[in-house]
Amino acid sequence: MPASWILLIIIALSVIGYFIAKQRALASGGGDRRVLHSLPKYYGTNAALAAAAPALLILGIWMILQPVVIDSIISSNLPEAVQADRGERSLAMADVQRIADGLDTAVSRGAMTADEAVDIRVGASNVRERLAEVGVALGSEVDANTLQMAQEYRALTSTGNIWRAIAVLVVALGGLAIAYMMTHKDFRARNSVERAILSLLIAAACVAILTTVGIVFSLIFNTHDFFSRYPAEDFFFGTRWEPSFSGRGGASDLGFLPLIWGTLFISLIALLVAVPLGLFSAIYLSEYASKPVRSIVKPLLEMLAGIPTIVYGLFALLTVGPLLLDVFGRDGVLGVNWMSGGTAAMTAGLVMGIMLIPFVSSLSDDIINAVPQAMRDGSFGLGATQSETLRQVILPAALPGIVGAILLAASRAIGETMIVVLGAGAAASLSLNPFEAMTTVTAKIVSQLTGDGEFNSPETLVAFALGMTLFVITLALNIVALWIVRRYREQYE
């Protein structure tokens, strides 16, 4: 029985459960709603949940585990030599699965009867051609062993599917029956539904947390793999970034320093742009702007945060870069020849700074608004002007929160990719000249993984080490920022 049918049956059962439990609850109260502990709909929901939730859970787990179990049973039949190598083993298993799927397809399209599919022999009929007729292309001739394994695979899968259907339906019916039996006017259905909702919420929260844990582990394993192929001290303290791609041979220099230098340098330029502009606009919006101005300007400013970063990247590449080149380039307005190409740390930094303005301004605005009106009254009452009040009372009170906002913006800047890829250039250099092309950790992760390098080479795996390092840096920044913001919040609440 396919999973979709099982799903439909579960849904039908839970709908039935809803109505019969509701009916039974009303009947147990003699038709009077007021003697029931909960509203009738809670009894119904309780039964519906009891029928659906455990059954769906088992169905989900079964669908994840069955292929894994069957895979391990079948692959034990493979020759020893094939089993030893991970790559060959997975290739062989893919073949088996393909043939099994192909036979299933053939049966379902009517090209073969079910018996023919079971009896098919390598010698008697050309399996490859028969399957090609129904649109399943195989890479090579099918040998007897593979075919036999495919048949075994099919058999195990269909047995598994039958047991799956039985187990799930038994659980669904059992849950329904128990909930139905428990339905009585004194049963606290409302509380039990509340508990179910609580566990749903917890499960949703767990998904986010578990995903984060999964990301961290995948980074850790691949990073570990990288360091087993490339010395850690060369990575962390190397000053040259010159990966040589496979095919050309020769050793690569995978030094981390030029990349982190580029990252920090560009982020610094971005913050030098974003912090004053963002902070001043936050001050204007929260302290000086009239209500109508504020209601127009604030959403406009926050719209900057909604622009995709690739658009900023294009802006950097096509507008800001050439503009800067016209000013600081060889034949530029200033005649200084500091800049040789449109892509430079300055280009990316300026555009990234513009992107960060709403982060700084929006958070700072909230924080400045959170300073109690009593502080302003106290200061005005002493004859202070608006800007004196701002400088001497409000900003000092809001400072920790503003620092937190700036740190959050900084971690955004460090993790930013598209603007850098398009605006900053590709050369990794340890330069102090902001008009020189630079590159960042994120941009190099992109270029290392999108190249056609072998996946198992250090040149590719270095991306994970870079990602891990970046993750640690931004995580630390975020933790510090959140800690500062929280400490500030406690002051007034």
Binding site: M375, G378, L382, G383, P396, Q491
Partner: protein, 265 residues
């Protein structure tokens, strides 16, 4: 609390400090203060009493133009301090507020040290030429607010770390440090316990030596204890204004009598 303390009626000779004539205040469409005229004397404690929402705080905030900070608030009429119209174009509200100090209902020390809280006003108005002068001003203000002995050893501790009563006296010290001529107090004791209230009330009586003090209060006992003049507000009108003793013993208006005997409010 000094049980024998009672407002004395020696104020008849004092000059008029604040003269309000036909003051109207509107919050948007709401007519909050209706045609109030009152003369507030120098070196006197004047109490504003009345039920909640009767406009006494609003009127108080007109005297130092704090209502200017509220967009929808509109003030009409004439308020003169020392015969100078404070709503005149030439008057800078900022300078006016330096002359008319204000203490708020809830103690609102700045999140700074005790010293910096008190030095805030003198610093922005340039009242001292050097550090030692500023030290003197701070010490004098703290002494006048009767809190010096409690904080002299921790002037650089944060002002927000003091108890409620201490914070309110710190706010009073902060207000007197700018050497105002008038001190406005908007329910200065409503957030304080009885002991702190007694300390602040005693302080108000001492401040009368130098300032004209206007206090808004919900407590009629407090008005009777600290003030020489009392004004009773009801629904935006000034119902009755006169000697405190007279208001509390022989009110002329039936509404005043109802309020002080607890029948309205």
């Amino acid at each position: 609390m000094r049980d024998n303390f009672r407002a004395e009626n020696d104020v008849t000779t004092n000059a008029v400090k604040i003269a309000a004539r036909n003051v109207q205040v509107y919050y948007g469409e709401t007519h909050a203060i209706k045609d109030v005229s009152v003369d507030i004397e120098d070196k006197t404690v004047t109490a504003f009493i009345g039920p909640s929402g009767c406009g006494k705080s609003t009127f108080l905030r007109c005297i130092n133009r704090m209502n200017d900070t509220i967009d929808i608030c509109r003030v009409e009429g004439d308020i003169r301090i020392d015969d100078e119209d404070i709503y005149d174009r030439r008057v800078d509200p900022v300078q006016l507020r330096a002359k008319v100090g204000m203490v708020f209902q809830k103690p609102n020390p700045f999140p700074k040290s005790i010293y910096d809280n008190v030095a805030y006003g003198p610093r922005i108005h340039g009242l001292s030429r050097n550090k030692s002068e500023l030290d003197d001003i701070v010490e004098r203000a703290l002494k006048r607010a009767a809190i010096w002995n409690e904080v002299r050893d921790r002037l650089h501790a944060p002002g927000t770390g003091l108890s409620g009563g201490q914070q309110q006296r710190l706010c009073i010290a902060r207000a007197v440090a700018t050497e105002p001529e008038v001190l406005l107090m908007d329910e200065p004791c409503s957030a304080l316990d009885p002991i702190a209230t007694a300390q602040v009330e005693e302080l108000i009586d001492e401040l009368r030596q130098n300032y004209s003090v206007v206090i808004v209060t919900h407590s009629m006992q407090q008005a009777a204890r600290v003030s020489q003049k009392t004004a009773f507000f009801h629904l935006g009108n000034l119902v009755e204004f006169g000697e405190t003793d007279k208001i509390f013993t022989a009110p002329e208006d039936p509404r005043t009598e109802s309020y002080i005997t607890g029948r309205i409010g």
